[in-house]
Subunit: 132 residues, 3 copies
């Protein structure tokens, strides 16, 4: 199991962590198997998406903030970040990835993103690999 830190700088942010995940997979020594990238937080998530054009995460952020705004009629949670909890459960607290021949198998345009939904904060990501 490997842990690493991610520092975020704004409230809603996609931070690419593909290289950190690749390093953790290489360090695991697993040649064939799967790996989980896990976020031990309830107002952040992790996803796989395009890492070529930064406009993609711009547009995703725009939609997320439009459809899941921070202040909504009827919200009760005193910390005022229920939108972030919602985004965390919809995007998910982990991604599961394939390891083949000792390397992460990603599509040509895929990157792994830490998704901050209530930043800026200092966050943690855990990578665990299983297989042979």
């Amino acid at each position: 199991m490997r842990r690493f830190e991610v520092r975020t700088t704004v409230r809603q942010q996609f931070v690419e962590i593909t290289d950190l995940v690749r390093e953790a997979v290489a360090a695991s020594g697993i040649a064939h198997g799967i790996c989980i990238v896990y976020v031990p937080h309830t107002t952040a998530a992790v996803t796989v998406n395009e890492n070529a054009d930064p406009d993609v995460v711009h547009d995703m952020t725009l939609w997320l903030n439009r459809v899941i705004p921070q202040d909504q009629p009827g919200f009760r949670h005193g910390e005022g970040n229920s939108d972030a909890h919602l985004k965390a459960s919809l995007i998910g607290s982990s991604v599961t990835l394939v390891i083949d021949q000792g390397s992460l198998v990603l599509g040509r345009w895929q990157g792994v993103y830490f998704v901050e939904c209530d930043g800026p904060r200092r966050r943690e990501v855990i990578v665990q690999a299983v297989g042979s």
Copy 2:
């Protein structure tokens, strides 16, 4: 593989199952690996989110029912629960978690929730652990 039952009492409900998952992981004998919590239903889901303040799941329920209402123009499915199928696919039918030193690795505020979307019903949850 372990199975356990969850009984729900209302149509949309978050039921915390963290202790049941911990017991299944302990019973598996896996010290280092991952575990999947799987829901074998198409109108229920499973997620990881805050287990400290019950207002968080209140607010998540409010948003889910507001943005994915049960009755929508154009819906055809005769059982009238397409909203529940949507929630199931958006939240997801499984969560994958890390096992380290024989225990589930969760963040300080994280709990595992069974998410009923078309209750009340008697439901089933499956836990499978892999590793060494």
Copy 3:
């Protein structure tokens, strides 16, 4: 690790791939463990949902296109498919499933669906099983 091809015929489409996943699991020789169905694309996803009544995926498609329309004010991504990237991250690029006694464990009404969000295209799906 097994790869197979999926061809889609319209822009937004649910294609059932349960039988292909079952074949990959059987070919893996894993009796007890888990399997990941992974989509190496950023405008497609994979989910588990009902495979009995085709009206379910009709209604899911209707909601997805209504709440995440293709053209939205403020979208910048030049390819014009940011909605597909959003659907991919919300539904997810993988599903994790349980293998018991050499077979996939699915609920009575569950099927595995490849979710095309920017078709028609020729796509790829990867299945990786781990366990004993």
